[in-house]
C-alpha cells in the first residue's frame, strides 16, 4: 500500500504545467526537400521530447543515412520506416506528439510528392491548422498551390506560411516578402480565415521558438508561440449533433444511446429531434461510464437515455429540436479519389459516415479540378489522387450537415465493395432538391394488372456470358417458343441497344457500367408494362448485375448464365471479334483484356458444351414452369 495521498498534495504544480488544457492538431505540408521532417524533428528537439537514447540512435542513423554530414539530421527522427530511411523520403502519414506548457500537439507529417494527395488529405482531415512549407530559394510552386488547396478543401481555416531555408538566401527580407505577395492572391479561391507568414530556418533554428537575431526586420512571433496560441478549432457554433454509434442494452430496463458529440452542447432535459425519423423527445440522462453529467460538450463520447420509448439504432442522429440536421438521399459532394481502381460512375459503392453504412451510386463527375491552377476540367471518371465534384444518390435518407458547417457530420468515405479498399473521401456540399421536386406519379393501373391482362407474370430473363457464348441464339429461340405460347415478350440485345440508346458509350469499364445501368432501367419499365423481358448482354461485372437485380422486385430477376468456356467461345468466334482482340486492334474485349466475372448464384446455368441452343431454351421453359413463371 503506497502513501500516494500525501505526495499528491505536492503534485498540482507539476500537473498544471504538464496537463495542458487542449490539443492542437496540425499538419505540415510542402514539396520534397522543403524541410518538413527537419522542422518536426526540430520542434520535438526544442520541446525536449527527444530522449537521450533516441538522440544516440539518431546520431548513429545520421552518420549512416543522413544528409547533414556530422550534424544531427532531424528528419531521420521522423522518417520511420526502413525503406524510407534508405531512400531518404517520407512516404506515408506519420503522427508525432509533443507538448509545451501551453498545450499538447499532434503533428501529422504528410508527404510532398505529387502522387500522394490522399495521404495529405488524410492528415488534413483531423487537423485545425496547416503549416505550408515553402523553400525560400524556390518560392510558391505548383505543389504549394496543391497543398494549400487540399488544406482548404478539408476544412482547415488557418495556415502558417513557413518560408524555410532563409539561411540559404542570406535572410533576405525582399525575397520573403515577394513570396508572401505571390501566395496571398490565392486566398480568393482558398478562403482561409488566417494566413500567418513566418520566415524561418528549421535546420539552424531561426524563428522556431523565439525571434531570430538573423532576421531583425521580422517583427511577428516565432513559429512555436503561434502554435501555442491559435484557435484549436472546436466546432462550438454548431447546434447539437449526436450520431448514434451504438445502443447499450444490458437489460430490459435500460436503453442507452452511445455516441460522440459531433456538434453543440448536450444538456439534460434538452428537447431533441431524432433523424431521419423526425420523432421528438428529450434528454433524460447523460453519462460517461458511471459518471452522470448535467451537460457535455462537443467531442465527448457519451451515453444518453431519452424520455419515452423509441426505436433508434446505429446510424440515426439525435439533434437539436429547433435546429435539426437536414435529411436527404441525394447530394452534391467533393470527392478525393484514393484508389488505384478509378471511380466508376453508376457503380454502387459503400458509403460510410462515422456511424452509418449505406449504398451510394455516383453520377459522372461534374468536373475534375486541376489543383495546381484551380481550373475545372471535364471528366468521365476520377483516378487516384484526383479531386472532383459529383452528384450521388443513396439507397435511403441520412441526416447530415454541409461539410463547411460540420466536418464530423458532413464527411464520408466510399468503399469499393469488391476489394474493401477505401476508394474515396467525400465532403457533402448540399442536398439535391431534385429528389423532392420530381414526385413519383402514381398510376391507377399497376404492373400486376398489366401482366394479368396478358395472362402472364412479368419478369426479366437476364442472359450473361462471354461474347460468342450463344446468348443471342438461345434468347432468340426462347422468344419464339414463348411467342408460340401466346406470351408477350421483348428482347433487349446488347448489340442492338448500342446502335441507339447507348450509341454514345464505348467499352471502357465506366461505359460498360453505364451501359448496364441504362438497360436495367429500360428492362424495369418493360416489366412495369407487364412483359416477359429478355436481356441478352455480356454484362461482365458482378456489381452491375447485382444492381440490376436490386432494381426489380423480389423474384422478378432471373439470371441465366450461358456457361461457355473462353477457349470454346474463341474457337467459334462468330463475329471474328476474338481474332481482332488477340491482334490488339480491338481493345477492352471481355475475356481477353477486360475481365468477365461469372455469376455466383445464377438461377439458371446453361453448360453449352453439353447442350445445344434448342435444349438450352427448353431448359429455361422447364425452369419457368417449375417456378410458376408460366
Amino acid at each position: 500500500m503506497t502513501d500516494a495521498g500525501v505526495s499528491a498534495k505536492t503534485l498540482p504544480a507539476c500537473l498544471d504545467q504538464q496537463v495542458a488544457e487542449d490539443t492542437l492538431r496540425l499538419i505540415t505540408c510542402g514539396s520534397v526537400d522543403d524541410g518538413k521532417s527537419t522542422l518536426i524533428g526540430r520542434l520535438l528537439y526544442e520541446s525536449k521530447m527527444i530522449f537521450d537514447d533516441q538522440l544516440a540512435a539518431l546520431g548513429r542513423d545520421s552518420r549512416k543515412f543522413g544528409t547533414q554530414g556530422d550534424e544531427i539530421d532531424f528528419a531521420l527522427l521522423v522518417d520511420g520506416l526502413a525503406a524510407e530511411r534508405e531512400q531518404g523520403i517520407t512516404i506515408d502519414v506519420a503522427y508525432r506528439y509533443f507538448s509545451t506548457r501551453a498545450r499538447k500537439f499532434i503533428v501529422a507529417d504528410t508527404p510532398g510528392h505529387e502522387e500522394y494527395t490522399r495521404n495529405m488529405a488524410t492528415g488534413a482531415s483531423t487537423a485545425s491548422l496547416a503549416i505550408i512549407m515553402i523553400d525560400a530559394r524556390k518560392g510558391v510552386l505548383a505543389q504549394t498551390r496543391r497543398h494549400a488547396f487540399i488544406a482548404s478543401l478539408l476544412g482547415i481555416r488557418q495556415i502558417v506560411l513557413a518560408v524555410n531555408k532563409m539561411d540559404m538566401i542570406g535572410y533576405a527580407r525582399d525575397r520573403f516578402e515577394s513570396i508572401v505577395e505571390d501566395f496571398m492572391p490565392l486566398n480568393e479561391v482558398l478562403g482561409f480565415d488566417r494566413i500567418m507568414p513566418v520566415p524561418l530556418s528549421a535546420l539552424v533554428g531561426d524563428n522556431i521558438i523565439s525571434p531570430s537575431g538573423n532576421m531583425p526586420w521580422y517583427e511577428g512571433p516565432a513559429l512555436l508561440p503561434i502554435l501555442e496560441t491559435v484557435d484549436a478549432g472546436k466546432e462550438g457554433r454548431s447546434p447539437l449533433r449526436l450520431p448514434v454509434q451504438y445502443v447499450i442494452r444490458p437489460n430490459q430496463d435500460f436503453r442507452g444511446y452511445a455516441g460522440r458529440i459531433a456538434g453543440g452542447v448536450l444538456k439534460q432535459g434538452q428537447a431533441v429531434k431524432i433523424l431521419p425519423s423526425g420523432k421528438t423527445s428529450s434528454i433524460k440522462s447523460i453519462a460517461i461510464g458511471d459518471a452522470q453529467m448535467q451537460a457535455a460538450a462537443t467531442g465527448l463520447s457519451v451515453t444518453v437515455t431519452l424520455d419515452g420509448e423509441h426505436d433508434i439504432s446505429r446510424g440515426d442522429m439525435i439533434t437539436d429540436a429547433e435546429s435539426p440536421a437536414e435529411t436527404a438521399d441525394q447530394f452534391r459532394a467533393k470527392l478525393i479519389w484514393m484508389d488505384d481502381r478509378p471511380m466508376l460512375p453508376g457503380r454502387a459503392y459503400i458509403f460510410r459516415t462515422e456511424t452509418a453504412s449505406l449504398t451510394a451510386t455516383l453520377a459522372k463527375p461534374r468536373y475534375r479540378l486541376n489543383v495546381n491552377n484551380y481550373e475545372r476540367m471535364p471528366a468521365n471518371t476520377l483516378a487516384l489522387n484526383d479531386i472532383g465534384s459529383c452528384n450521388l444518390s443513396l439507397d435511403r435518407k441520412i441526416a447530415f450537415d454541409p461539410y463547411v458547417e460540420n466536418r464530423a457530420t458532413g464527411a464520408f468515405i466510399l468503399i469499393d465493395p469488391e476489394t474493401n479498399a477505401t476508394a474515396g473521401a467525400g465532403m457533402i456540399d448540399f442536398a439535391l432538391r431534385r429528389s423532392h421536386n420530381i414526385h413519383w406519379q402514381a398510376t391507377d393501373v399497376d404492373k400486376d394488372q398489366r401482366a394479368a391482362a396478358k395472362n402472364q407474370r412479368s419478369c426479366v430473363l437476364w442472359f450473361t456470358g462471354l461474347s460468342g457464348s450463344g446468348k443471342s441464339t438461345i434468347a432468340n429461340i426462347l422468344e419464339k417458343k414463348l411467342h408460340a405460347m401466346a406470351r408477350h415478350t421483348m428482347i433487349l440485345d446488347g448489340d442492338n441497344v448500342r446502335h441507339g440508346l447507348n450509341r454514345d458509350l464505348g467499352f471502357t469499364d465506366a461505359d460498360r457500367v453505364e451501359n448496364i445501368r441504362r438497360v436495367s432501367e429500360v428492362a424495369r419499365l418493360m416489366v412495369e408494362a407487364g412483359l416477359i423481358t429478355i436481356v441478352s448482354f455480356i454484362s461482365p461485372f458482378l456489381a452491375e448485375r447485382k444492381m440490376a437485380r436490386a432494381m426489380m422486385a423480389d423474384g422478378e430477376f432471373v439470371e441465366i448464365f450461358v456457361d461457355t468456356p473462353l477457349a470454346e467461345a474463341e474457337r467459334r468466334d462468330v463475329k471474328g471479334l476474338y481474332k481482332k482482340a488477340r491482334a490488339g486492334t480491338l481493345k477492352n474485349f471481355t475475356g481477353i483484356d477486360s475481365p468477365y466475372e461469372a455469376p455466383e448464384h445464377a438461377e439458371i446455368t446453361l453448360p453449352t458444351m453439353e447442350m445445344d441452343a434448342e435444349a438450352a431454351a427448353d431448359a429455361i421453359i422447364d425452369w419457368m414452369k417449375a417456378h410458376h413463371y408460366l
Binding site: 500500500m1 503506497t2 500516494a4 495521498g5 505526495s7 499528491a8 503534485l11 507539476c14 500537473l15 504538464q18 496537463v19 488544457e21 487542449d22 490539443t23 530522449f51 537514447d53 548513429r60 522518417d79 520511420g80 520506416l81 526502413a82 525503406a83 512516404i91 506515408d92 502519414v93 506519420a94 503522427y95 508525432r96 506528439y97 507538448s99 495521404n119 488529405a121 488524410t122 483531423t126 454509434q245 447499450i248 435500460f254 460522440r260 460517461i288 461510464g289 458511471d290 459518471a291 460538450a297 465527448l300 463520447s301 451515453t303 446505429r314 459503400i350 460510410r352 462515422e354 466536418r407 464530423a408 464527411a411 464520408f412 468515405i413 468503399i415 474493401n420 479498399a421 477505401t422 473521401a425
Partner: protein, 313 residues
C-alpha cells in the same frame, strides 16, 4: 491484496475531463465502433499500464453493460510472477472471463529467453503464440494497447490496422484513415488490429492512471528488488529459472519498471519513486525513452518494423 495496487488519490475530475476529454472520447468511440462492426473481437490484455488504461476505457465505453468481447492474455510463462497474480485478481474482481494462451509447442520445447535468445523466444512465445490464439478462436478484430509515440514505425500505423490472412502488416499498403470514419470491412480470414490508445503519450497514460485511480501492478513503483546487472541492463531475478553467471550475486536495489514484459527481457531502472506522483515527476525529467529497457528493440534499427510485419503487436 492492496499490495498489488498502486493506489492514488483522485485528482480533480473537472481538470482531468478537460485534459483527457478528447483522448478518452476517441478511445471510447473506437471500442464502440469495433463492437458494432466486428463479428468476434478480442481484447489483448497484457497486464501492463497501457492495458490497464485500455481496460478502464473499455469498461467506460459500454457501462452499465459489460464489454461485448472476450479478453485474451498471451502468456509466455516468463512474465513477472506478480503480473500473473495481478491479472487473475483483476479479472476476478471485474467478473471478466480471460482466455490464456501459451504456445504449446514452445512450451514442450522448453523455449525461453535464456536458452533460445530474446529474438527466438519473442518470435515463438509471443508472435507465433498470438497468431495461434487468434486463429484458434477465429477472432477477426484484436484490440492492442500500442501507442504511436512509442516507436518510429508505430507512428505510421493506422488506428484500424489491417492484417492479411497470415497476420502480416503491409506498411506500404495501408488504408487511408480520414476523420473518425473507420473502414472495418474485410474478407473472411483477414483481420484488423485496433489501437484505441494510438494518440496517447506515456505522460498521458500516467496522468490518466493517477486521475482515474486505475489499478496497476506495483512493479511500476520503486521497491527493493533482487537484481543483477548485465550489459548495462538491470535484470530482476524473479524466479529460480534465471541462470546466474560465475560471480553474479543478486543484490537488493531500489528499482522499478517503466514497461512490463518477460522479466529476463525487461530492464529495471534505479528509482526512489514509490508513488504515482513520484513516477510522473521522475518521468518529466527523464532523459531516456520508455522502450530503452526493452532488450528486443535493440536488435537492429528497423527491428520493431520487421517484427510488426511478421505479425507482432
Amino acid at each position: 491484496m492492496s499490495g498489488f495496487y498502486a493506489e492514488a488519490a483522485s485528482a480533480d475530475k473537472d481538470r482531468s475531463t478537460a485534459a483527457f476529454g478528447s483522448l478518452e472520447a476517441q478511445a471510447i468511440q473506437i471500442f464502440r465502433e469495433v463492437a458494432a462492426e466486428a463479428e468476434n473481437p478480442v481484447f489483448l490484455y497484457s497486464v501492463g499500464k497501457d492495458s490497464a488504461v485500455m481496460l478502464h476505457l473499455a469498461l467506460k465505453a459500454f457501462y452499465p453493460a459489460k464489454p461485448p468481447f472476450r479478453f485474451l492474455h498471451v502468456d509466455t510463462t516468463w512474465k513477472f510472477r506478480e503480473m500473473i497474480e495481478f491479472r487473475d485478481q483483476r479479472m476476478a474482481q471485474l467478473g471478466l472471463d480471460l482466455l490464456v494462451h501459451t504456445n504449446p509447442e514452445g512450451l514442450a520445447d522448453g523455449v525461453g529467453p535464456f536458452t533460445h535468445g530474446s529474438a527466438r523466444h519473442t518470435e515463438i512465445m509471443k508472435t507465433e503464440a498470438l497468431k495461434q490464439a487468434l486463429d484458434k478462436h477465429q477472432f477477426d478484430v484484436a484490440f492492442g494497447g500500442a501507442r504511436r509515440d512509442e516507436e518510429k514505425s508505430r507512428a505510421k500505423e493506422r488506428i484500424f490496422s489491417f492484417r492479411t490472412g497470415d497476420h502480416r502488416w503491409d506498411p506500404k499498403n495501408q488504408r487511408p484513415e480520414l476523420w473518425s470514419i473507420y473502414n472495418t470491412r474485410k474478407q473472411p480470414g483477414e483481420s484488423i488490429r485496433v489501437f484505441p490508445l494510438s494518440n496517447w503519450t506515456e505522460t498521458d497514460i500516467w496522468q490518466y492512471i493517477l486521475s482515474e485511480d486505475i489499478p496497476i501492478p506495483s512493479l511500476y513503483l520503486a521497491k527493493e528488488r533482487p537484481v543483477v546487472e548485465r550489459g548495462g541492463t538491470l535484470v530482476m531475478v524473479d524466479d529460480e529459472r534465471m541462470p546466474l553467471k560465475d560471480g553474479e550475486e543478486p543484490r537488493m536495489e531500489m528499482v522499478r519498471f517503466r514497461t512490463l514484459g518477460c522479466y529476463p527481457l525487461t530492464g529495471a531502472i534505479r528509482s526512489q519513486a514509490t508513488t504515482l506522483p513520484d513516477i510522473i515527476q521522475e518521468m518529466l525529467v527523464s532523459t531516456t525513452s520508455e522502450r530503452q529497457g526493452r532488450v528486443i528493440d535493440a536488435d537492429g534499427g528497423a527491428s520493431m518494423e520487421a517484427k510488426k510485419q511478421a505479425g507482432y503487436f
